[in-house]
C-alpha cells in the first residue's frame, strides 16, 4: 500500500520518478486526446463495489406494465446504507430535450443516505422530477435525470417481447437505452455538500464517486425496465436478455459546456488527477518489467483498442478523422511493439515521434492497464484540498520569476493578434447555462466569466514588472495592498506554482479554441468511451459500457473492461 509520503517522494526531490513535463502534459490538445484508464473514476468505483461486494437490492418496485412508476433500491456498502430512488414518467417525444434548459425527462432519480419511508419518497416525488425547479434536503447527495434513446429502447423491447435477442451490430451503433443529461452533486438544489459526502460517507468519499454510482444504477435500471415492459407486453414469448449483451449496454451521456468552467475553476483538483495519472505512467516506465507475457498482453490490448475504435459510430467528421488516425497509430504501435523491448521508454518515445496525440495517450492508458499493482493504489489519492492560498512573503521579484518560469506559455501568447481575445464565456439568463459568445458580434463581454487565465497572467505580469522596477524587495502582501485587483490571479499563480502540473496551458479566449478538448479531458478522467461530438460545444458518449452488471457483484471479477468490445466481435476474434 502506498502512503502520502511515498507519493511525495516519487514526485519531488532526489528520488523522484521521471515524470513527463508540464509543458507536454498540460497542453490542452493533449489533455483533449486522453482516454479512459485504470484510474478513471468509473473503473475505481467498480473495483470498489466488486471488491467490497456491495449488496444492492430493490426495496420498492412499483412499475406499471409500461414501465412507469417508482423504484427504490437499497445499497448496503461497508460504511452505510443508502437508497437510490427513481421516478419513471411518461414523456412525449416532442418534449424530449438533452439541453440543460429542458424541464421534463423520462427518468429522474436521487441518491439518499439511509432507508427511505413512504413519506420521504413522496417528498422526493414532489421535487426530484422537477430537477432544478425542485428542492431537496441534505440527506440527498446526487440528483440526475435521463432521456430515453427512443429508437433503441423500443427496438430492444420489441426484440425481447418477441423472444429474440437484440442484434449486437445495432447496439454497437448506440450502446445505451438512456442518456443522462445532467448529474448534480456537491450541494446543488439543497443537497449535501461535498464536505459532508467526503467526511460522513466514506463509501463515496472520492471525487465524483457518488455521481458515477448513480449513472451505474441508471444503467442497471434501463435494462431492467426494458425487460419489465417486454415481459408484460408478451409474457408467453418474452426472453431475458443474455448477460453478455446486457454488459455491452452502457449509459449514454450528453456533456456540454458546463464542464469546461469546472476544469478552470478547480485547478488544484485537476492537477491532482493529472499528477496521479503521470505518476502511474512514471512507475510503469521505471518499475514495469517487460517480458514475453506482458508483451503479449500489450499486443492484445492494442488489438482490442483497435477493434473498439472501429466500433465507434459518429457522424462528426472531425472525430471520424481522429478515429481513423488512432487506428493507423494502433497499427503502427502493434508492429513496433512486436520488436524486442527492454523497457517502455523506447516505445513511448517512439510513439511521441510517430503517433498522433490521441495515439500517444492511448498507449499511456494501455500501459497503465498492464500493471494494476503499480497503478491501482493511486486511486485513493485523487482528492485535493482546494485552497488557493497567497504566499504573502514571496518577494515581487520572485513572483515575477515564477511567472516567467511556470507561465512562459502564457507570456508567449500574443494577445494583440487578431482573434486572440475574440471569445468570451458567460452565463446565460436561461438557467445560468454556460455559453460562448463572440466579442465582435455579441453583447455581454463585460459579464464574462474569468476563464482567460493566460490573459490574466499576462496583465498581471505587465503590472508586476512595473512595480518590481520600483520596489524589487517588496513582498507579495505589500503588492496586494497596492494592486488588489490582481489578488485572484496572483493567488492562483502562487498556488499552482506549488503543484507539479499547474494550469491548463491554453488561451481559452481565442476564436479557434476547441472547448471539446476540455470536455473530453474531464470525461476521460470519468472513464467514458465512444466520443460522439454533436457540435464544437457538446458531445455524446457512453458510460459503463462493458462494466459488470449488478448481478455480477459477488462473482469473480478480473477488472478487465477497458475498451469494451461488442460481444459478437469478441466471439469472432477468439474464433480467429
Amino acid at each position: 500500500m502506498t502512503t502520502p509520503a511515498a507519493i511525495h517522494a516519487a514526485l519531488r526531490g532526489d528520488n523522484a520518478l521521471p515524470l513527463r513535463p508540464a509543458s507536454q502534459v498540460m497542453d490542452l490538445e493533449r489533455l483533449g486526446a486522453m482516454h479512459q484508464s485504470r484510474l478513471s473514476f468509473m473503473r475505481t468505483l467498480i473495483r470498489k463495489i466488486m471488491r467490497e461486494r456491495w449488496q444492492i437490492s430493490p426495496a420498492l418496485f412499483e412499475l406499471d406494465n409500461d414501465g412507469y412508476g417508482t423504484v427504490v433500491y437499497e445499497i448496503q456498502a461497508p460504511h452505510g446504507l443508502f437508497s437510490f430512488v427513481l421516478f419513471s414518467d411518461y414523456l412525449a417525444p416532442e418534449e424530449r430535450n438533452d439541453r440543460v434548459i429542458a424541464t421534463k425527462w423520462d427518468l429522474t432519480m436521487a441518491l439518499v443516505d439511509g432507508k427511505v419511508d413512504a413519506d420521504y419518497v413522496e417528498q422526493l416525488r414532489q421535487n426530484v422530477p422537477k430537477q432544478e425547479a425542485g428542492r431537496v434536503d441534505a440527506r440527498v447527495f446526487v440528483l440526475s435525470r435521463a432521456n430515453r434513446s427512443a429508437r433503441n429502447f423500443d427496438y430492444v423491447v420489441d426484440q425481447l417481447a418477441s423472444g429474440k435477442q437484440p442484434d449486437v451490430d445495432r447496439i454497437a451503433q448506440v450502446g445505451y437505452l438512456y442518456r443522462t443529461t445532467a448529474v448534480y452533486g456537491s450541494g446543488k438544489l439543497g443537497m449535501a455538500d461535498w464536505e459532508k459526502v467526503q467526511s460522513r460517507w466514506p463509501d463515496f468519499a472520492r471525487p465524483f464517486a457518488a455521481e458515477m454510482f448513480v449513472c451505474l444504477m441508471l444503467r442497471n435500471f434501463s435494462l431492467l425496465q426494458a425487460e419489465h415492459i417486454a415481459r408484460h407486453r408478451s409474457p408467453d414469448t418474452f426472453v431475458e436478455m443474455e448477460p453478455e449483451i446486457k454488459r455491452y449496454f452502457g449509459i449514454g451521456n450528453s456533456t456540454g459546456l458546463g464542464m469546461a468552467p469546472y476544469l478552470v475553476n478547480h485547478p488544484l483538483l485537476i492537477n491532482q488527477w493529472v499528477e496521479m495519472r503521470e505518476l502511474a505512467l512514471a512507475r510503469v516506465r521505471v518499475l514495469g518489467s517487460v517480458d514475453s507475457r506482458v508483451q503479449q498482453q500489450l499486443q492484445a490490448l492494442i488489438e482490442r483498442s483497435a477493434t473498439h475504435t472501429r466500433q465507434i459510430i459518429t457522424e462528426d467528421e472531425w472525430q471520424t478523422q481522429n478515429n481513423v488516425q488512432v487506428l493507423k497509430d494502433l497499427d503502427a504501435l502493434h508492429q513496433q511493439a512486436g520488436q524486442p523491448l527492454e523497457n517502455w521508454d523506447a516505445l513511448i518515445q517512439w510513439s511521441e515521434e510517430h503517433c498522433s496525440l490521441q495515439g500517444q495517450e492511448l498507449l499511456v492508458s494501455i500501459l497503465l492497464e498492464l500493471y494494476p499493482e503499480l497503478v491501482n493504489d493511486l486511486e485513493d489519492y485523487c482528492s485535493a484540498e482546494e485552497f488557493l492560498d497567497l504566499d504573502p512573503l514571496m518577494t515581487v521579484s520572485t513572483l515575477k520569476a515564477v511567472i516567467e518560469n511556470r507561465y512562459d506559455w502564457a507570456l508567449n501568447l500574443d494577445f494583440g493578434e487578431s482573434g486572440a481575445r475574440e471569445i468570451f464565456w458567460y452565463r446565460s439568463e436561461e438557467k445560468m447555462e454556460p455559453r460562448l459568445g463572440n466579442a465582435l458580434e455579441e453583447d455581454g463581454k463585460e459579464k464574462q466569466m474569468a476563464l482567460g487565465v493566460g490573459y490574466a497572467v499576462r496583465k498581471c505580469y505587465d503590472q508586476l514588472s512595473e512595480y518590481v522596477a520600483e520596489h524589487p524587495d517588496h513582498s507579495t502582501a505589500r503588492f496586494m495592498v497596492a494592486r488588489p485587483k490582481l489578488r485572484g490571479i496572483v493567488r492562483r499563480i502562487q498556488s499552482m506554482n506549488r503543484c507539479l502540473y499547474g494550469d491548463i496551458q491554453a488561451n481559452l479566449l481565442h476564436r479557434d479554441v476547441l472547448p471539446m478538448h476540455l470536455l473530453r479531458a474531464k470525461l476521460a478522467f470519468f472513464g467514458v468511451s465512444k466520443f460522439d461530438p454533436r457540435s464544437k460545444l457538446w458531445v455524446r458518449n457512453t458510460m459503463f459500457q462493458g462494466a459488470p452488471l449488478l448481478e455480477d457483484i459477488g462473482k469473480t471479477f478480473n477488472d478487465d473492461w477497458f475498451m469494451p468490445l461488442a460481444p459478437q466481435s469478441s466471439t469472432k476474434q477468439s474464433a480467429e
Partner: protein, 249 residues
C-alpha cells in the same frame, strides 16, 4: 428556507461579482460570509447589514498604506467593507510576522470587521497565530476580539457591550497582531460596565461547523431572493444567437 453551503457560496460570488468586486475579491467576500454562517457566527446577519452598501465601494479609493516599518503598518481602508480589503491587511501582517516574528497592522476606516475571522482562520491553518481587536457602534459601543493559534483550524471569538463613549479616533478601526513565534489567545477583560459578554471557544466554533456540514444552512427567503436578484447582474440576456453559443442545434 434550507440551502447548502455550496449554494450560498455560489450565489454570494455572483452577488459580489455583479456588485463590481474583482476576481479574487468576490471569492474572498463569499467565503468570509459563508465561514461565519457555517461556524455559527451569524454571517447572514452581518451580510444583511452590509448589503445596503454593497456597491458603494466601487467608487471609493483603494486601501492605502499610511505608515510602514518592519514590524508594523497602518492602513487606511477609506471606508471600504472588510469584505473587499481586510484579507490584504491580514496578509501584510502575516508577511511581516514571518520576517520579524511578530507584527502589528492597524486598519482604519473599515466596515464589517467581523468578516476578518475567515482571514484569521486561513493564517492559523497555514501555521501563523493571529489576534484581532476592534470596537463597533456609534451609540452603544461593543468590543470584539478573535484569535487563532498556529496550526489550528478554528479561532475563538469574544464580544461584549461596553459603557465606553464612541470615539471619533477609534471609529471603524481594527488592530491585527500576527506572530510566527508566539501563540496568541484572546478574551475580553471583565471591564467595568461591560455586559452581554459572550465567549465562543475554538471547540464551540468547530462544533457549529459540524452541524452546518450535516444540515446545511437555513436562510430567510427574502434575503436569499435579494442575494440572487443582485447576482442576476452577471447573467447575459438570452437570445436565439446566444442559444447557439451553448452548441444547441
Amino acid at each position: 428556507m434550507h440551502i447548502s453551503m455550496n449554494e450560498l457560496k455560489a450565489s454570494l460570488r455572483r452577488c459580489f461579482e455583479a456588485s463590481g468586486y474583482f476576481v479574487g475579491n468576490y471569492e474572498d467576500a463569499a467565503n468570509m460570509i459563508l465561514w461565519l454562517e457555517k461556524h455559527g457566527l451569524n454571517g447572514l446577519g452581518e451580510l444583511e447589514r452590509a448589503l445596503d452598501y454593497i456597491d458603494v465601494d466601487r467608487d471609493k479609493p483603494l486601501s492605502t498604506v499610511v505608515y510602514e516599518d518592519s514590524t508594523s503598518a497602518i492602513i487606511d481602508s477609506n471606508g471600504r467593507s472588510a469584505l473587499n480589503c481586510i484579507a490584504a491587511s491580514v496578509d501584510l501582517a502575516h508577511a511581516k510576522a514571518l520576517e520579524v516574528g511578530i507584527a502589528t497592522v492597524t486598519v482604519h476606516n473599515c466596515h464589517n470587521r467581523m468578516f476578518i475571522l475567515k482571514a484569521l482562520t486561513d493564517c492559523g491553518r497555514r501555521g501563523i497565530s493571529v489576534a484581532a481587536y476592534w470596537q463597533n457602534g456609534s451609540d452603544t459601543v461593543t468590543e470584539h476580539t478573535a484569535a487563532i493559534k498556529a496550526g489550528a483550524r478554528y479561532p475563538s471569538y469574544s464580544e461584549a457591550t461596553t459603557s465606553l463613549k464612541p470615539s471619533d479616533d477609534d471609529r471603524q478601526a481594527l488592530t491585527i497582531i500576527c506572530s510566527s513565534r508566539v501563540d496568541l489567545t484572546t478574551s475580553l477583560q471583565r471591564s467595568e460596565g461591560n455586559r452581554n459578554a459572550r465567549h465562543v471557544s475554538a471547540e464551540q466554533v468547530a462544533q457549529n461547523k459540524e452541524h452546518s456540514v450535516d444540515q446545511g444552512i437555513d436562510i430567510d427567503e427574502a434575503l436569499w431572493a435579494r442575494i440572487n436578484k443582485i447576482g442576476e447582474g452577471v447573467l447575459v440576456e438570452n437570445s436565439e444567437r446566444s442559444r447557439q453559443g451553448a452548441g444547441g442545434r
